[in-house]
């Protein structure tokens, strides 16, 4: 119960009016940053670092940064749901069902399940962080290149549900994403691939640029191509106020399990040094879709598809803090910037941090709780305001989105080429929408493709090109076998039926149309 006492002491540190103010500022800035496409928490914290240094208050600064991160995660889901314009890769999964809910007038319920889900996931994962940080981090750093490769394969085969109704179109989208992921310098040999002599492509296409192009710009241009087909405002709203916190009884009943499952996925993935927030959101989406009792609602706004990924997304942040605090290993861009902040305050995260500055560590953990509460307190009432966005006349709204999307892309790189790339991808996205290609698999390919390739080649390089490296390690082998099982199980009834010489009874999980 030592951790519990430390945590209480942490609350003692944090619950001062000044620190609460820092938390409130952080959450507010974070929400705004999350709402703007392109500008993410990492960039914001990096820009705020010099200011924070002058404050000379490590606890307050870190509380504010934690608030920014949590706020940005939540703010990102707001635009994903309302306008189908996710600003970060981790809110892409949310946008799929969330936007469909908004289109059917259920924006309030979608925002509410996202907010409460984020709160639940944030709180549970922070408790996990407090309790299991050290053993968890020890486990996480035993992962080798071959394990990461196997994990990426497993993730790839489990998220095939993202592919959508048509297998062919889904795979084409996925392939487009894989191709985008190949552009740039090869990470192992430094050779340029698909850069066509354009220096700006040497670092590859930034994922934020792709997301802004596919969603914000693509959606805007698509809407602009069919002005007469649509009503003046975006969506009619269902009369609100039913149930508690905009969620009806059925919504609560359908949300709480996805919240918990999302948390269980997000936290461990975040803790892996090459994990991240995106994969668990996609896995959560697939998991909920497979388990759903309302399969017909998927694609038309199933609330589980918002609740699960949002929880996974928020839980992963506490996971990211595990290796950061215990080993000084940053696993995301935001964590890397926070590590720099630790450095400025003469704090070196790592094994000694818990012993040397317990008040800071536990204060940070306590501040995550406070940030979560504050986020919920700020955002539940704000839903009323956010949904008003949908009442803005369409031309004005989408002009605004286009302006902010362009600014966001330019702000990140300071390079006009990136703006052109974003618009080029936006034009492709218009045709993808027109011909009903799913968008999410592009992101999937862009994230998982490079991860699989890099880890595969690293594993081979480290084993002197011995392919048995993928079957020699028990963990690698287990993960790969799971991947085979995930790929084969849905087909098993059909195969058995065929062997027995009968017609298949059921249909496949995906690819129905073809």
């Amino acid at each position: 119960m030592n951790s519990f006492m430390d945590l209480l002491a942490g609350f003692g540190t944090v619950l001062t009016p000044v620190n609460l103010l820092y938390a409130a500022i952080g959450v507010t800035i974070g929400t705004l940053v999350g709402v703007l496409p392109g500008i993410g928490p990492a960039l914001t914290i990096a820009l705020l670092l010099p200011v924070a240094l002058r404050l000379d208050d490590p606890t307050g600064t870190l509380i504010m940064f934690a608030g920014i991160y949590a706020g940005a995660m939540y703010g990102g889901s707001t635009t994903s749901i309302l306008l189908n314009t996710p600003g970060e890769s981790s809110s892409v999964a949310t946008s799929i069902e969330g936007y469909q809910m908004a289109r059917r007038g259920r924006a309030r319920a979608a925002l509410a399940t996202a907010a409460i889900g984020s709160f639940v996931a944030g709180t549970i994962s922070t408790v996990l962080l407090a309790l299991v940080a050290t053993p968890m981090a020890r486990l996480a750093v035993t992962f080798r290149a071959s394990d990461y490769f196997a994990l990426a394969v497993l993730a790839m085969v489990t998220v095939t549900a993202m592919v959508g109704a048509s297998l062919v179109r889904g795979l084409m989208s996925l392939t487009f994403g894989l191709f985008l992921g190949l552009i740039g310098l090869d990470s192992l040999t430094g050779q340029a691939r698909f850069t066509f002599g354009v220096p700006a492509l040497l670092d590859g296409v930034d994922i934020v640029t792709v997301i802004v192009g596919l969603f914000a710009i693509g959606e805007t241009l698509y809407i602009a191509t069919r002005p007469r087909d649509l009503p003046d405002t975006v969506t009619p709203l269902e009369p609100g106020g039913k149930g508690f916190a905009w969620l009806g009884k059925a919504d609560w009943a359908r949300s709480w399990r996805p919240w918990l499952r999302g948390t269980a996925l997000g936290f461990p993935f975040g803790a892996l040094p090459s994990g991240g927030a995106e994969i668990p959101t996609f896995v959560s989406y697939t998991l909920e879709k497979r388990r759903s009792k309302h399969p017909r609602e998927w694609g038309n706004g199933a609330i589980e598809g918002v609740a699960g990924p949002e929880a996974a997304n928020n839980a992963s942040f506490s996971g990211v803090l595990v290796p950061l605090l215990t080993l000084g290993i940053p696993t995301s861009a935001t964590a890397a910037v926070m590590l720099a902040a630790f450095g400025y305050f003469d704090l070196s995260p790592g094994p000694q941090l818990f012993e040397k500055s317990p008040e800071l560590v536990w204060g940070l953990i306590a501040s995550l709780f406070i940030g979560n509460v504050m986020l919920l307190a700020l955002n539940l009432p704000m839903i009323r305001v956010w949904v008003k966005v949908l009442k803005i006349p369409r031309p004005l709204l989408y002009t605004g989105i286009l302006v902010f999307a362009t600014l966001g892309v330019y702000a990140v790189s300071g390079n006009i080429v990136d703006v052109f790339i974003a618009f080029g991808i936006g034009v492709i996205a218009v045709f993808m929408r027109r011909f009903e290609f799913p968008i999410a698999p592009v992101i999937l390919g862009l994230i998982l493709g490079p991860m699989m390739e890099t880890q595969f080649r690293r594993a081979l390089l480290l084993s002197d090109n011995d392919l048995t490296v993928f079957v020699r390690r028990p963990l690698t082998l287990i993960l790969l076998l799971l991947a085979v099982a995930a790929l084969g199980l849905p087909h098993l009834p059909r195969l058995i039926a065929r062997i027995r010489g009968r017609e298949p009874a059921g249909r496949l999980a995906f690819g129905d149309e073809d």
């Binding site: 080798r144 310098l185 990470s187 192992l188 220096p199 090459s274 070196s348 790592g350 790189s413 390079n415």
Partner: protein, 340 residues
């Protein structure tokens, strides 16, 4: 509709064109007079990488120091980020778009020298007007605490006997860390190309640390500050640092330098500042004086202490000679290990 759009667009283009013309006219006359009160307008400091990284932090520290010590002649300084390709995109922009503009400075460093070679950049540092080097950080060679290696010599002997016996981990391909591996192999008399082939590039210090701890790599190479905490905790062991003399890599006692371990090799991850090509001699003198004043200010000393940067000041011709020497040395080793 189209007509109206045109009516807006035409004056805008004209305005833009005249604006550009004004600017070029305003800058060219009387450089001597301009140099006398430098900076005469907002000073632009380009960080050729993203926010939060080493070059960005250097640029922002310069900005802060210049403003706080009142060296700007009443003008202000701005930092902007131009990301990509180890800084060579920023370098190309400085050389092509900001010629003769003494109010455009850019932060540079060893990583850019390597990037010019590996990315086959058409412009290199020799196209700029070198101003000064400012800071440096030593590299560190570390192994896991359970490793059989306790000295650099054992490691060097092993790679000499069998270049494939050691797996190295560090930052991006062709970056400072891999350059050090190549130089070390050469100094040890090993097959540099074969040794460098055993190098696994990781994105960022976090992944490198994890790879060393999981046992994926035998040896990790990184900036000293990156591993200081793990060295302090006793989780990893520092075999050598890459500066001229031994330095504390976190353990509390100094780790030997590579030179002290018997290999004639020194490599520092230095950062400096350059100006665009084509500025006049008097403008160059003015920029040199500004950076000199910056370096001498108490605020800069404070920045160095805060950020734990090693002072590494060479200015003017000395900096130019240093840039040239580093470029030659890095190009040679990168070509030898097959990345040129």
């Amino acid at each position: 509709m189209f007509k109206r759009a045109l009516a807006v667009a035409v004056p805008a283009v004209l305005l833009f064109a005249t604006g550009c013309a004004d600017q070029s006219v305003g800058e060219s006359p009387a450089p001597d007079a301009a140099a006398a009160k430098y900076p005469a307008k907002t000073l632009q400091i380009m960080a050729p990488a993203g926010a939060g990284g080493g070059w960005d932090t250097t640029a922002r520290s310069m900005q802060k120091t210049l403003q706080e010590s009142g060296l700007l002649n009443g003008q202000s300084a701005e930092v902007r980020n131009v990301t990509g390709a180890a800084g060579t995109i920023g370098l190309a922009e400085l050389v092509t778009s900001h010629q003769k503009d003494a109010h455009q400075l850019m932060v540079t460093g060893l990583v850019m020298v390597g990037g010019v070679v590996t990315n086959k950049s058409p412009v290199d540092l020799s196209k700029t007007t070198p101003i000064a080097t400012l800071t440096a950080e030593s590299e560190v060679v570390v192994v896991h605490k359970d490793s059989k290696y306790t000295t650099l010599k054992q490691l060097a002997d092993d790679i000499k006997a069998d270049p494939t016996s050691v797996k190295w981990g560090g930052g991006s391909a062709g970056g400072t860390d891999q350059i050090l591996v190549g130089l070390l192999a050469k100094a040890a008399g090993a097959d540099a190309k074969a040794v460098a082939k055993q190098y696994v590039a990781y994105s960022g210090g976090g992944e490198t640390k994890a790879a060393l701890l999981s046992g994926d790599v035998t040896v990790a190479v990184s900036g000293t500050s990156e591993f200081a905490d793990l060295v302090k905790a006793g989780t990893v062991r520092a075999l050598a640092v890459s500066g001229a003399t031994g330095a504390d890599a976190g353990a509390g006692t100094p780790a030997p330098s590579i030179k002290e371990s018997g290999y004639d090799l020194e490599l520092l991850n230095w950062r400096g500042v350059v100006a665009p090509p084509g500025i006049s001699d008097s403008e160059r003198t003015a920029v040199l004086k500004l950076v000199d004043d910056l370096h001498n200010s108490p605020q800069w000393k404070q920045e160095l202490a805060d950020k734990k940067w090693q002072d590494f000041y060479k200015s003017g011709d000395e900096a130019a000679a240093f840039y040239a020497a580093e470029s030659t040395r890095i190009k040679t080793v990168l070509t030898e290990i097959g990345l040129g």
